[in-house]
C-alpha cells in the first residue's frame, strides 16, 4: 500500500517524539524529580504510530500503564503530557492523573490505564457508541501479552464478536508481563484465541512501521466497514524494564542490546525511506532536531509550571454533587 509522504513524515516525527520523550524520562526519573511510577514505551514506537496513522480524532483508543506512546501517537499534546507526569496543574489532567492516567477525550484518547486489562471492556463501550451513533468511528484497545490473559480481555473479545462491534484488539506482545515471560504465562496462542471468538487475526513485526501500518489498516478497515472486530498481534521488544528502576535481571544478558541493534523501528524506517529515495537524511535530521527542541522545552516548562492548589483536591470528583 502506498503511504502518503505527509503521513510518513508525521509518523516519523511521532515515533521520534515518543523515543525522545521516553529516553528523557528515563534520565529525569533517575534524578528523583518525577513522582510515582513510569513505564517506558521505547522500542515499541512503530506499534502505536503504525496503528494510529490509520485513525482520526473521531476514532477512540484505550491504552495501558505503558501509555505515553499511545497518547503521543493519538495526538495528545506533548507539553501537557510532560507537565502531567511532573504533577503540575498545567498537565493534561491537571496533575491529578499522572503517567498512568493520561487521557484526552477530545482526541479520542480514552486513557492510559493503571489496571492490566482495564481497557478492553471500555473499548467495547466506545465501539458501541460509534455503532449506535453511526459516526463511522472505530475503537481500538491496546493491551499487552500480560493483559491478554485477563478475564476482562477475554470477555471483551467475546462481547465484541457477539455485538459485532467496530473494534480492533491490538495485542502488543513484548514477551514480558512485568517480570514473567509470555512463553510461561500465555497458554495456547493469540491466533487460536482470536479464532476461538470467531474474529480475524493478523500479526506483524512491530519494529517495522510499514508492516504495522498495513496490518492495522486492514484490521481497521474491516471493523469500520461493519464487519466486526479484529485481533491485531504485534510482536515487539521492550527496551526498558517493566517500570523505571527495574534492573531486568529476568532477561538474558544481551537481549536488549540485540533488540536495539536489530529491531530499532526508527533506524529501520530511516533506512527504508532514504534507500527508496523518499526522503533525504537531512529532512529526517531536521525532524530529530525539532523534536529534541520540543522535548527540551517541554521538560523545562514542566519543571517551571505551577503545582496544583489545595482547592484542586476537592474539585472534579463529580459533575454535580
Amino acid at each position: 500500500m502506498q503511504i502518503a509522504r505527509e503521513t510518513l513524515l508525521r509518523s516519523y516525527r511521532a515515533m521520534r517524539t515518543i523515543r525522545m520523550f521516553e529516553e528523557r524520562l528515563h534520565v529525569e526519573f533517575a534524578t528523583g524529580e518525577i513522582p510515582g511510577f513510569v513505564h517506558l514505551y521505547c522500542g515499541e514506537e512503530a506499534s502505536a504510530v503504525g496503528v494510529c496513522a490509520n485513525l482520526t480524532d473521531n476514532d477512540t483508543i484505550a491504552s495501558t500503564h505503558r501509555g505515553h506512546g499511545h497518547c503521543i501517537a493519538k495526538g495528545v499534546e506533548v507539553a501537557g503530557m510532560m507537565a502531567e507526569i511532573y504533577g503540575r496543574s498545567t498537565g493534561v489532567c491537571r496533575g491529578k492523573g499522572g503517567s498512568m492516567h493520561i487521557a484526552d477525550l477530545a482526541c479520542g484518547m480514552l486513557g492510559a490505564n493503571g489496571i492490566v486489562g482495564g481497557g478492553p471492556p471500555l473499548i467495547c463501550g466506545a465501539a458501541l457508541s460509534h455503532k449506535t451513533l453511526r459516526d463511522g468511528g472505530v475503537a481500538v484497545a491496546f493491551y499487552g501479552d500480560g493483559a491478554s490473559n485477563e478475564g476482562t480481555t477475554l470477555e471483551s473479545l467475546n462481547l465484541a464478536s457477539v455485538w459485532q462491534l467496530p473494534a480492533v484488539f491490538v495485542v502488543e506482545d513484548n514477551g514480558y508481563g512485568e517480570a514473567t515471560g509470555a512463553s510461561f504465562a500465555c497458554a495456547g496462542t493469540q491466533k487460536a484465541r482470536a479464532a476461538g471468538f470467531g474474529m480475524p487475526y493478523i500479526e506483524c513485526d512491530g519494529s517495522d512501521y510499514f508492516a504495522v501500518h498495513e496490518a492495522a489498516g486492514e484490521a481497521i478497515a474491516h471493523a469500520r466497514a461493519g464487519r466486526g472486530p479484529v485481533m491485531l498481534h504485534v510482536h515487539l521488544q521492550r527496551w526498558y524494564g517493566h517500570f523505571e528502576g527495574d534492573a531486568m535481571t529476568y532477561r538474558a544478558p544481551g537481549e536488549v542490546a540485540e533488540a536495539k541493534r536489530d529491531h530499532d523501528c526508527l533506524r529501520l524506517f530511516r533506512e527504508r525511506v532514504t534507500q527508496a529515495g523518499l526522503f533525504e537524511d537531512s529532512v529526517l535530521d531536521e525532524v530529530d532536531t525539532a523534536v529534541t527542541d520540543e522535548i527540551e522545552a517541554a521538560v523545562l516548562q514542566a519543571k517551571d509550571d505551577p503545582l496544583p492548589q489545595s482547592a484542586d483536591l476537592l474539585a472534579d470528583v463529580y459533575v454535580r454533587y
Binding site: T60, A62, G91, V92, C93, R94, G95, K96, G97, H101, A103, D104, L105, A106, L110, G111, N113, G114, I115, G118, P120, P121, L122, I123, C124, G125, A126, L128, S129, H130, T132, L133, A139, G151, T152, E155, S156, N158, L159, V162, W163, A315, D316, V317, Y318, V319, R320, Y321
Partner: protein, 342 residues
C-alpha cells in the same frame, strides 16, 4: 395518576426516558431475553424479574441489548459508552454479582472525571437488586450499598417506594455522573399511586415520611416502610418518631439528619447491610461528631449480625431488621437515663 407497582414504576421511568433521549440504551443479561437458542419468544423475560418487559418491543435491539453472562465486559462497556456519548442503563441483576466487575465500576467509571482533571462525563446508571427476605441465600441477598458509598465518584440511590423509584430513576438517568441504583427485590410488587407523567426527585434531599418529637429514625430502602410501621405503633403509645428516608447514600443529606436529631435528641438507624462500616456506622459517626451535645441517649443501630445472609427462613428472619426490632430500639432510647456525673 394511577396505582403502580415498584416494577411498573421503574419500567415506566425507563420507557419515558428512552422516548425522551435517543442516547439512553439498556444492556444486561436477559433484559430482553430470548435471543438465539431455538428461536422461541423474543423479549421472553424482560429481565429476570420482568422489570424491563416490553422495552425491547418498543425500542428494538439497538437500544435494548442482551449480553452474555460476562459482567466485567458489559459493565465496562457501559462505562466506555457513557464517556463516549451514550447514556447507558446497565442491569447487573443481583448486586452480589458486582464481585465479577468491580474493577470497571471502582477503578474505571468512578474515577474518570477526577483522574482526567475534570474532562470526563460518565452518565452511567447501574441497576441492581439487593436485599434479603427472599430465601436467596448468601450470594443473592446482600445489601452492598455501603461498598459503593465508600467509593468517591459514585452516586448511590435506594428508592423506598414505587413513587420514589420512578422519580429517582429519572434523575439517575439524567445525571452526568455514574449512579448505582439499588432496587429491593422484595418490593417489586408493592403498589402505590404514581404519577403518569415523568418527574425527577433530586439526589441528596432526604424525605421525612413521619414527623414526631421524641426519636429520629433514619432508614434506607425497604427499611423505610418498616420504620414507618414502627413509628405508627409507637405513636399509639405516645412516642413520636420522625422517620427520615435519605433516598441517596451518596450524596447523603446529613443536614436533615442533624436538624432532626437536634430536635429529638435521640437517634435510631435502621440499615439492612452488614453492620461493620455500613450506613448506620457512618451516620452514627456524623451525629457523634456534629451533634454530640444534642444527644439525650446513645445512638442505637438496628442492623443484621456480622454474618453472611442465611438461607433457612427461620435464620433469615432472625438476621433481618424488623418492625419489632425497631420498636425495641426506639423504646430503649426512650428509657435511657443519663447518669449524673460525680
Amino acid at each position: 395518576m394511577s396505582k403502580k407497582s415498584f416494577r411498573q414504576a421503574i419500567n415506566e421511568a425507563l420507557r419515558q426516558e428512552m422516548r425522551r433521549d435517543p442516547t439512553v440504551i439498556l444492556m444486561g443479561e436477559d433484559v430482553a431475553g430470548g435471543r438465539g437458542g431455538s428461536a422461541g419468544t423474543v423479549d421472553a423475560w424482560g429481565g429476570v424479574l420482568g422489570v424491563t418487559k416490553g422495552l425491547y418491543e418498543e425500542f428494538g435491539e439497538t437500544r435494548v441489548l442482551d449480553t452474555p453472562i460476562t459482567e466485567a465486559s458489559y459493565i465496562g462497556a457501559a462505562a466506555g459508552a457513557a464517556v463516549t456519548g451514550l447514556r447507558p442503563v446497565a442491569e447487573l441483576m443481583f448486586v452480589d454479582f458486582v464481585g465479577c466487575c468491580l474493577d470497571q465500576i471502582m477503578n474505571q467509571a468512578a474515577k474518570f472525571r477526577y483522574m482526567f482533571g475534570g474532562k470526563a462525563r460518565t452518565p452511567l446508571v447501574i441497576r441492581a437488586m439487593y436485599g434479603a427476605g427472599f430465601n436467596a441465600a448468601a450470594q443473592h441477598s446482600q445489601a452492598l450499598y455501603p461498598l459503593f458509598t465508600h467509593i468517591p465518584g459514585l452516586k448511590v440511590v435506594i428508592p423506598s417506594s414505587p413513587y420514589e423509584a420512578k422519580g429517582l430513576l429519572i434523575s439517575a438517568i439524567r445525571d452526568d455522573d455514574p449512579v448505582i441504583f439499588l432496587e429491593n427485590k422484595v418490593m417489586y410488587d408493592v403498589e402505590e399511586e404514581v404519577p403518569d407523567e415523568p418527574y425527577a426527585i433530586p439526589f441528596g434531599e432526604a424525605n421525612l415520611t413521619r414527623e414526631g418529637d421524641d426519636v429520629t429514625i433514619v432508614a434506607f430502602g425497604r427499611m423505610v416502610g418498616m420504620a414507618n410501621e414502627a413509628a405508627d405503633r409507637l405513636a399509639k403509645k405516645g412516642i413520636g418518631c420522625t422517620v427520615i428516608d435519605p433516598r441517596t447514600t451518596s450524596p447523603l443529606d446529613g443536614e436533615t439528619i442533624l436538624d432532626c436529631v437536634a430536635d429529638t435528641g435521640r437517634l435510631v438507624i435502621v440499615d439492612e447491610s452488614s453492620p461493620r462500616c455500613n450506613m448506620a456506622t457512618d451516620i452514627a459517626a456524623l451525629v457523634a461528631e456534629e451533634a454530640f451535645d444534642a444527644l439525650r441517649a446513645p445512638i442505637r443501630r438496628v442492623v443484621p449480625p456480622h454474618t453472611p445472609v442465611p438461607f433457612a427462613t427461620v435464620l433469615e428472619t432472625l438476621y433481618m431488621p424488623s418492625v419489632e426490632k425497631i420498636e425495641a430500639a426506639v423504646t430503649a432510647t426512650m428509657n435511657h437515663r443519663v447518669k449524673e456525673k460525680v
